[in-house]
């Protein structure tokens, strides 16, 4: 321990550690000092002064929240002087605003109210005199009633210090001071991301969640802790549920959570899809091209009989299943089990096929496992982070904010690789802007510099890697000049980036689909693995090659074996030992023939006759949609199980209504291998059911006695069969998440992988040198632009449920085509105009949004909307190993409408 010392508070001699404030010492010893502006995790403001205490020999009272305790200090917290001052401040604050508790959402959960009550102040000595600020009601998410604001500044500090956004700040002076976005704009007109952290930080009723208004007072609600269903960050949240409706959503502030109280707009305001009137409430059967509601029995019988029929007529391998990254582990586990056991084929895959499978391939062959090697929290240990192909603040806003904070506090430098000038570049030390599809080249270029300047980690290369010479040979030709020619990145920038990355004690790589959705996606990721191995940046905290999953359970679905060649836990179906293990456990014979991928199922006609899709939406997420539509229409029988009637569901024969995350129990595994609980908060909508229940019933219809009583029981089975999950149980998860590998009950989980050795045959990291090859489709005279699909803050993937959130739709109603203003001008397009976008495969009409952050010659579009099927344009040329289409680029032409 550090040198503890003693000080006296209220006559008691107490122990303190250096750096602790008086407040912290007092609280640690159970001495009550009230606070209002104090907010852990932010800097101390010393603004409200209610924590004032008397310190011997101090000229004035001191704010205990910011005064460091020191040895021998004599503090009094309860003298008349202190109490009078405190009381005066509380009276002043009360009188300063319209603190009308009767209709205040914070009644019963208000820190000012608590103080007034504790101090027994019946009425303040001053006449209540609210400043008369306009209530800002401009959006459907946050209500700002500044007449209730006590100007503690917590919202301001959270926004700037934790979120790194600085949307709001103090303005005006004296008692006219108020907190406002720049130029007194409404929040909706500002750059606000609506993460809602300001609301969570507000101690009074000034900032409230609009969706929770009159939706249950603090003591009337049921508070359910669960895991956010949106992105892969795994934020822990508390849902405030009143009469079956989710109202306010709070981030769980425990310091051992990934998010430490933070959420993003989707988690905070985007859960209303649960209550959408468009949810599916009954099974639907298509008759004569139209859906008709049916009973569960009828629908499931129809499904079972059709599957059986296809099995009998075309064999098991004519059937296939596509799972989703959104489902719980228990659901996807049971799904792949259903495909393997009931349908008798390994044709099971999940939506990650279209985004991240190259990662799994490349990471597995380099390190022996396809997961994120470090975790976000360990970014704190990193000196440098290279972020590539990942729009961090939009993709995973909460970890993005953490990284911004680490940069602003001076402990971290960022190298950002992105063709667009994305927001995080504001915080970057170096920005590399390559031409799309040239990632291997700049990565090789950096390694060239590192080897050339002898900056690589000799020890590590020697002791923990193999095939270095091959790498050396490969990158020797990637001089900065050559790389500049290929990528467009100035050679000196490559040198600069290489030196910065190599010089770091701990350098981490975070990447996203900008790396993987290419025909050389696997090579791209291999190049990154090579870079990390070369500099010894694997196997320790704050380093690694970290793939960022886009969806909440992208990692879990893979872990659960929703992949054609492997069982849960990466155990190959073709391995007889594994095969035997599962045959025994599942009590049936299993095929040892690896199945086909989602790409093979939906892109190539004729492979599949009967398809079972749970939560996936290939009709929007897949490439070259016109083709997929043809392929699917050609199938004999399609079952789609989802919450909404997705575009894929529309082509199905049977649609089964599934529950949302809020209606069921289960677990998600976040992008950093953290397994966390999902808890039921509301009852299922209509006759919808959790996937696992549907699968059980269907299993029984298919002749298997599946009688799981609950997801807990399923998790126990998972643990028994999946070595990295070996120590996972609901009992343990209820105390907090577990980061796999966790082989047994006593294992604490694993913050980062490959500490001592790799999971390769030799136990060493393997360099897989990659040469640069041009992309599948380059612009030409006819199709002069590159189109790249991206995602944005408010929506996920195909928007299959974020679209049903009122708040998210308000912020981001439509997909837009981002275009450089110079390009737009050449084409005669103005901001907001609709344009026709045409590729060799199809055409769409989309609104244009000009932005100088976008390079010339390239246009970017999101693909979240059902109205605009951007993916009719994209190419279905695949990465050879990952079988992932090159969604990140295709050639298009743009015409004004």
């Amino acid at each position: 321990m550090e040198n503890k010392f003693l000080l006296t508070i209220d006559g008691r001699e107490l122990e303190a550690t250096p750096g602790q404030t008086i407040l912290e010492v007092a609280r640690a010893h159970g001495i009550y000092i009230p606070t209002l502006c104090y907010y852990p995790g932010t800097s101390t403001a010393g603004a409200c002064r209610v924590c004032a205490v008397e310190v011997e020999n101090a000229r004035t009272l001191v704010a205990s929240c910011c005064m460091p305790a020191s040895p021998g200090m004599v503090v009094k917290t309860d003298t008349k002087r202190v109490l009078d001052a405190r009381r005066m401040v509380v009276e002043l604050l009360w009188a300063s605003g319209n603190h009308n508790c009767l209709t205040c959402e914070k009644n019963g959960d208000c820190e000012l109210q608590d103080l007034v009550y504790a101090m027994k102040i019946e009425v303040p000595r001053f006449e209540t005199d609210p400043p008369g600020h306009r209530i800002e009601d401009s959006n459907s998410m946050i209500r700002r009633d500044l007449d209730k604001c006590i100007l503690c500044g917590r919202c301001v500090r959270v926004c700037s210090e934790i979120r790194g956004n600085s949307i709001i700040d103090f303005s005006m002076r004296g008692s006219k001071a108020k907190i406002t976005p720049a130029f007194y704009d409404d929040l909706i007109d500002s750059e606000c991301e609506f993460c809602g952290s300001c609301v969570q930080a507000c101690p009074v009723g000034a900032l409230t969640f609009k969706q929770a208004r009159f939706g249950g007072r603090p003591w009337e609600v049921q508070k359910v802790r669960t895991t956010c269903p949106h992105c892969g960050a795994g934020c822990q949240m508390e849902l405030w549920v009143h009469k079956g409706t989710i109202g306010a959503v709070y981030g769980v502030e425990d310091t051992d959570t990934e998010n430490r109280g933070q959420l993003c707009v989707k988690g905070r305001f985007g859960l209303d899809f649960v209550h959408s009137t468009e949810r599916l409430t009954k099974p639907l059967i298509k008759k004569n091209g139209a859906f008709h509601e049916s009973s569960w029995d009828e629908a499931l019988d129809l499904v079972a009989s059709n599957f059986k029929k296809i099995q009998e007529e075309h064999g098991s391998d004519a059937l296939g299943g596509i799972a989703s990254s959104k489902s719980t582990n228990e659901d996807v586990y049971l799904f792949q089990k259903f495909i393997r056991v009931c349908l008798g084929t390994n044709n099971v895959d999940f939506c990650t096929r279209f985004c991240h499978t190259p990662s799994a391939v490349a990471l597995t062959r380099a390190f022996g496992g396809g997961a994120m090697t470090n975790c976000m929290r360990l970014s704190e240990k990193a000196d440098v982070i290279l972020v590539s192909g990942l729009n961090l603040t939009e993709m995973c806003p909460v970890p993005g904010a953490l990284i911004k904070k680490l940069v602003t506090s001076g402990n971290l430098k960022l190298i950002i690789v992105d063709p667009r000038r994305i927001k995080i570049i504001d915080n970057a030390e170096i920005w590399l802007s390559p031409k799309i599809g040239t990632d291997v080249a700049w990565t090789n270029g950096m390694m060239h510099v590192i080897i050339n300047e002898d900056l690589y980690d000799h020890d590590f290369v020697e002791n923990r890697t193999e095939e270095f010479d091959r790498l050396k040979d490969m990158v020797s030709s990637y001089t900065p000049e050559k790389v500049e020619e290929i990528t467009g990145i100035p050679g000196e920038k490559i040198v600069e980036a290489a030196r910065l990355y190599a010089a770091a004690d701990n350098a981490s790589i975070l990447y996203g689909m900008g790396e993987t959705q290419h025909i050389y996606g696997t090579d791209n990721v291999s190049a990154l693995c090579n870079l990390a191995l070369l500099t010894g940046n694997v196997g320790k905290a704050g380093t690694g090659v970290n793939t960022i999953a886009k969806q909440n359970n992208g990692q879990g679905a893979g872990d659960m074996g929703c992949l054609p060649p492997i069982y849960p836990g990466g155990q190959p179906v073709s391995n007889s030992e594994a095969n035997e293990k599962f045959e025994k456990a599942w009590g049936t014979t299993l095929s040892m023939k690896p199945g086909i991928t989602e790409s093979d199922m939906v892109i190539t006609k004729g492979n599949i006759k009967g398809l079972y899709v749970v939560g996936g939406n290939p009709m929007r997420s897949g490439p070259n949609l016109n083709n997929i539509e043809e392929v699917m229409e050609d199938m004999d029988f399609i079952v789609v199980q989802d919450m909404f009637l997705t575009e894929t569901a529309k082509v199905a024969d049977v649609v089964l209504p599934a529950c949302s995350f809020a209606e069921k129990e289960g677990t998600f595994t976040n992008t950093a291998r953290l397994i966390q609980r999902v808890r039921k908060a509301v009852d299922p909508v209509g006759e919808s059911k959790p996937d696992w229940e549907i699968l059980c019933e269907l299993g029984r219809k298919m002749g298997h006695e599946w009688n799981y009583s609950s997801p807990k029981e399923i998790m126990d089975e998972i643990a028994s069969l999946t070595p990295p999950y070996g120590g996972v149980s609901y009992d343990r998860l209820d105390k907090g998440g577990i980061r796999w590998p966790c082989p047994n009950n006593d294992h604490p989980g694993t913050p980062y992988l490959w500490k001592e050795k790799f999971n390769t045959a030799s136990g060493k990291g393997v360099f897989f040198p990659a040469d640069y090859n041009p992309p599948a489709e380059l612009p030409d005279e006819e199709y002069p632009f590159i189109l790249s699909t991206v995602k944005e803050l408010c929506h996920l993937h195909t928007g299959s449920y974020t679209r049903y959130s009122k708040a998210l739709a308000e912020l981001s109603p439509d997909d837009l085509l981002g275009i450089n203003p110079l390009d737009a001008k050449k084409l005669g397009i103005r901001d907001g105009d609709d344009v026709k976008l045409r590729s060799r495969r199809g055409e769409i009409v989309i609104g244009a949004k000009t932005s100088g952050n976008i390079p010339e010659g390239t246009v970017f579009s999101t693909f979240h909307s059902s109205k605009i099927p951007v993916n009719v344009l994209t190419t279905d040329t695949l990465d050879k190993l990952g079988m992932t289409p090159e969604l990140k680029m295709c050639a298009v032409k743009i015409e004004p409408v």
Binding site: A47, T60, L92, L151, R173, G174
Partner: protein, 1018 residues
């Protein structure tokens, strides 16, 4: 180097720029070139000279002649007369206000003579835009020494030894601050200069930056060397464009000369400077807010610790000093700490610059040794208060400072003494306030400023100052209530104790300080809804009415005069004043001193118009008021107090009897004021009106002699004691018992009773008379003596400004040939054979200040001289003769021989049957004061009776129905007061005819039409 025969220094400070120095310079350049003098005479535009009130200022060297308020039109004269003919231009010279004497040389002007220029040593002397001129005056010698001869530790020690303390206000030892920063670890450290001067009326730093920017740079370089910093910022408010421009020039010149930048003076030391412009937030003068602002954030203070010396700008160790502190540093190093500490007092060393503003003659920038008394600054350097007004207090330390009232003029101005008095040194803003300052309003003003400038971060400052402002505003607007003062005090202490930064911690200072020194004025606002200073406009109709002790409705009777409704005007006069004709002649007219017209040209001649009304209009007929009440009241003394009370009580239906010792009623107005000022008939008319009401006046009856006091108290239910103050005070010197020595009032009384004997020569003062004293009685006695044919000398121990007598009386006396000797005090009366032959006096010199703010006269040893005199009239003051009141009556009399009043009462003595008023309570005061006392007593006696009987309060007579016209001029043109026609001095000296002849109708109407009608509610 080119030699010029003469240098003309034109002040280019902001003040002189504003008054047109730029145009003067242009004109001068043109004229000099026209006259072909370009090679002989050099024009230099300097920084602020300091004497801003007199700008544009021009100093011509080598003579050192200073010209004031120079305009372009004056330039040809200056060139022709001064530069060509060598004759100073008389009309542009400075004139001492008290003596009107022209003082040609700058060094002889008191404003400059009392100063000690160190920080401002180059002001008005060098061209601030030329580094060579600074260097020529030993500039950068400190840097050279610090960088080549001293270690950083040496520098810190030298500064520490000098005792230099922060001139920004808090007075923290500069050396100690540097030591902390020097000891902090880190490669990056900052030196910051606080040039965000924001106090209203303060411009010390601006002037230094404008006049001598290199001095600040030099200080910063030395500070940087001392703490190991290589980067500095000057945080200067954007409202100082000239300072910013000169700083810019200075920085680039210093860089050019290798005094800034890399490898300074080849010593290997690097230091660079940048200017950061503040956007005008007062709080950014607070060090942590200033740093936050430089960091690009909203300037709000942050909690300390960590202190800036450890973690300041961008979290790096930083020192922040203000402009003046840094401007001292170069000299501290160059000349040594001992030199620095050679002026000042024990704990405050060196000098301090003050921006002297407000109600003071010499507004400007002054630098004085620490410990100089406030009085010296205000009176000697500042030249006293303009327009004959009195000094009331000085606000020191800006809006967060406090007031130092008149009784503390002797206080030495240094950090500790100022704090003891409840003010702060602050950065040196010194606002002088005269008697017209309302302390509540002033506190409100400063609180308004602080509330406006509060950054809003901490609750006590943001909300607390708002509430204090609210309470102060309520008080100023007549909504004050009991308990407000106590609540203000409680809030003040809590805010001081709990606010985050210096702004909040000091914001309550003006409130505490004004409550401390002017609590009674707060109480007047709260309890009487009255603003004694006549500032809080919601509390009165017009300032003149507010100033009048009886609240005469001045605007109304002026309006009636303008409308030629003189009879109505008389009726209005009589509503509040039974003796308007008296007051029209002898009132001290406090109303006129508050007249707003005086800000335009001259105040209204209210007194003269009042007299005009009583001279011109017919006095309204008076009818007896029947006695309707059982209670009987005796009044002792038929002076204005007694008679006013008698009238008021008679109107209320009481049976009133007035006992008067002298043969006729009127008191001092009859027997003290000579008839050339107040003709007898006029007074008699107004007294008659009181008799007509039914009041019985029993003259020639002295209570205690002709009728016992016990008898009176037995015969009457209530007694009002208004015997006046008719006993001259003794001088307590040898020879006072001699024949020919008179008391002032005794002489006047005797003369007025026995006029015939004096005029016939039966009684005589002889041919040479010495009058001792400076009050109205002394002047009255002297002017009587002149009229009796004597040669009269008045001996007064202080200055003319200190004389309590009305100024017009003094002037009249001088016109009549009376000689007034100032600074003279008698030490002995000399006589032969029991009769006066002369008086020995001593010359006086000025000492420190007394509680009233006047200089105490101190005897000048060995200056005795003797005047021959046949009579001596000692008119040094009067006291009441209360020997008639029985000691056992329970009526308490104080050490000044005046009645004590019961606690909380304005007229009741310590016996509940006896009331008292007039001079017998206050000591010698004014007629109008006595009338006010009479009104008060009548009301209190009536209230006491009714309260005892359980009756409702008296309701006054019905409205007299006079509608006041409202007519004003569309445009107001400057137009002085109408002159009062007088008898010529030569003629009037021989008789007792009324001197002032009174306005004619046209004059009166014209004068009344000057009224601005402040009473109008528009």
């Amino acid at each position: 180097m080119k030699v010029f025969r003469s240098h003309i220094l034109i002040c280019g400070g902001t003040g002189c720029h504003a008054t047109g120095s730029g145009m003067v310079k242009q004109a001068l350049t043109a004229e000099i070139s026209r006259q072909g003098l370009t090679d002989e005479i050099r024009i230099v535009e300097t920084g602020c000279n300091g004497f801003c009130a007199m700008g544009p200022i021009m100093v011509i060297y080598p003579d050192g002649i200073i010209y004031m308020m120079v305009q372009p039109d004056d330039v040809p004269d200056i060139v022709e007369e001064h530069l060509l003919k060598g004759r100073p231009v008389e009309r542009l010279l400075y004139r001492e206000p008290s003596t009107d004497e022209a003082i040609p040389e700058m060094k002889d002007i008191p404003f400059f003579a009392h100063q000690e220029l160190r920080v401002l040593r180059n002001k008005g002397l060098i061209d601030p835009e030329r580094i060579d001129e600074y260097i020529a005056r030993d500039g950068y010698a400190g840097v050279a020494k610090a960088l080549t001869e001293m270690t950083p530790e040496d520098i810190v020690q030298e500064v520490l030894d000098s005792g230099l303390r922060g001139r920004g206000g808090a007075g923290f030892p500069t050396g100690l601050k540097w030591r902390f920063a020097a000891q902090s670890k880190g490669d990056i450290k900052y030196v910051l200069c606080n040039a965000d001067e924001g106090d209203p009326g303060a411009f010390m730093d601006r002037s230094v930056l404008e006049a001598d920017p290199h001095a600040v740079l030099e200080g910063m370089i030395i500070a940087a060397r001392a703490i190991g910093s290589h980067k500095g910022y000057i945080y200067c408010r954007a409202e100082y464009p000239l300072a910013l421009r000169r700083l810019d020039i200075a920085i680039s010149q210093a860089k050019e000369y290798g005094l800034l930048g890399d490898n300074i003076l080849d010593t290997g030391f690097d230091f660079d400077l940048e200017i950061y412009q503040g956007a005008g937030a007062f709080v950014c003068g607070e060090e942590t807010a200033l740093m936050t602002s430089i960091e690009g954030n909203r300037g709000m203070p942050r909690p300390r610790p960590p202190f800036p010396a450890v973690s300041g700008l961008w979290g790096k160790p930083s020192v922040l000093n203000n402009v003046e502190t840094l401007a001292n540093v170069g000299q501290v190093i160059a000349k040594g700490s001992e030199w620095f500490a050679s002026v000042g007092n024990e704990r405050s060393k060196g000098t301090k610059v003050f921006a002297l503003t407000g109600d003071v003659n010499n507004v400007g920038l002054v630098e004085v040794p620490m410990g100089t008394s406030l009085g010296t600054i205000v009176h000697d350097i500042g030249g006293g208060i303009p327009n004959g007004k009195k000094f009331k207090a000085a606000q020191l330390g800006g809006p967060s400072g406090g007031m130092i009232p008149v009784q503390h003029l002797n206080a030495p101005i240094d950090y500790e003494h100022v704090a003891e008095l409840g003010a702060i040194m602050g950065s040196g803003g010194l606002i002088v306030m005269n008697e017209d300052m309302c302390p509540v309003d002033m506190a409100r003003f400063f609180m308004d400023f602080c509330q406006d400038e509060s950054c809003g971060k901490c609750a006590p400052c943001r909300e607390g100052t708002k509430r204090m402002l609210e309470i102060l505003t309520n008080i100023c607007e007549g909504r004050g209530k009991e308990g407000d003062i106590e609540l203000l005090e409680e809030m003040a202490y809590i805010i001081k104790d709990s606010a985050l930064c210096g702004l909040g911690q000091t914001a309550p200072n003006p409130v505490l300080s004004t409550i401390r020194y002017f609590r009674s004025e707060y109480e007047a606002h709260i309890r009487e809804k009255r603003c004694p200073a006549g500032v809080c406009a919601t509390l009165f109709k017009s300032p003149c009415q507010n100033a009048c002790p009886v609240g005469m409705d001045v605007p109304s009777y002026l309006a009636l005069v303008r409308a030629r409704r003189f009879d109505d005007a008389y009726t209005v006069l009589l509503r509040t004043n039974p003796f308007p004709s008296v007051c029209g002649r002898v009132c001290d007219h406090q109303c006129q001193s508050k007249c707003r017209r005086s800000t335009l040209d001259e105040s209204l001649a209210i007194k003269f118009i009042k007299r005009f009304i009583t001279d011109t209009a017919e006095r309204p007929a008076v009818e007896a008021v029947p006695v309707t009440r059982e209670e009987t009241i005796a009044i002792i003394g038929a002076g204005p107090a007694g008679l006013t009370a008698a009238k008021d009580l008679a109107i209320r239906g009481y049976d009133v009897t007035v006992y008067e010792e002298l043969p006729e009623p009127g008191g001092m107005t009859r027997y003290g004021i000579p008839s050339y000022r107040l003709p007898r008939t006029i007074l008699a008319g107004e007294i008659d009106d009181i008799r007509k009401l039914g009041v019985e006046i029993v003259c020639n009856t002295r209570v205690g002699r002709d009728i016992s006091f016990e008898q009176v108290t037995e015969d009457y239910d209530y007694v009002y004691l208004a015997p006046g103050a008719h006993k001259s005070m003794k001088m307590h010197i040898a020879g006072e018992e001699l024949q020919g020595v008179f008391g002032g009032v005794e002489f006047l009384r005797d003369f007025n009773i026995d006029e015939a004997a004096w005029l016939s020569g039966e009684k005589s003062l002889g041919s040479k008379v010495a009058v001792i004293g400076g009050g109205n009685s002394a002047i009255d006695a002297a002017r009587c003596a002149v009229r009796l044919g004597a040669e009269v000398t008045i001996l007064y121990r202080r200055t003319r400004e200190d004389m309590p007598a009305a100024d017009e009386e003094i002037v009249a006396a001088e016109h009549e040939g009376i000689k007034i000797e100032y600074y003279v005090a008698p030490t002995e009366i000399i006589g032969e054979n029991g009769t006066v032959t002369g008086i020995t006096c001593q010359r006086m010199k000025t000492g420190d200040f007394d509680r009233s703010g006047r200089r105490r006269p101190m005897p000048a040893e060995g200056s005795e001289f003797t005047l021959s005199a046949d009579s001596i009239i000692a008119a040094i003051g009067q006291s009441p003769d209360l020997s008639f009141v029985a000691e056992q009556g329970g009526i308490s009399i104080n050490k000044w021989d005046c009645f004590d009043l019961a606690d909380g009462s304005k007229s009741c003595t310590t016996s509940d049957k006896a009331f008292a008023g007039g001079d017998a309570v206050t000591g010698p005061w004014t007629v109008i004061g006595a009338i006010a006392a009479g009104h008060q007593a009548a009301e209190d006696i009536d209230d006491a009776i009714r309260q005892r009987n359980g009756e409702p309060a008296w309701e006054g007579p019905a409205d007299d129905g006079i509608v006041i016209p409202f007519e004003i001029d569309e445009d107001t043109e400057e137009q002085p007061q109408a002159v009062m026609p007088e008898l010529e001095a030569a003629r009037r000296k021989t008789n007792f005819d009324e001197v002032e002849l009174g306005y004619g109708i046209d004059e009166a109407i014209k004068e009344a039409s000057r009224c601005l009608r402040c009473d109008a509610e528009i």
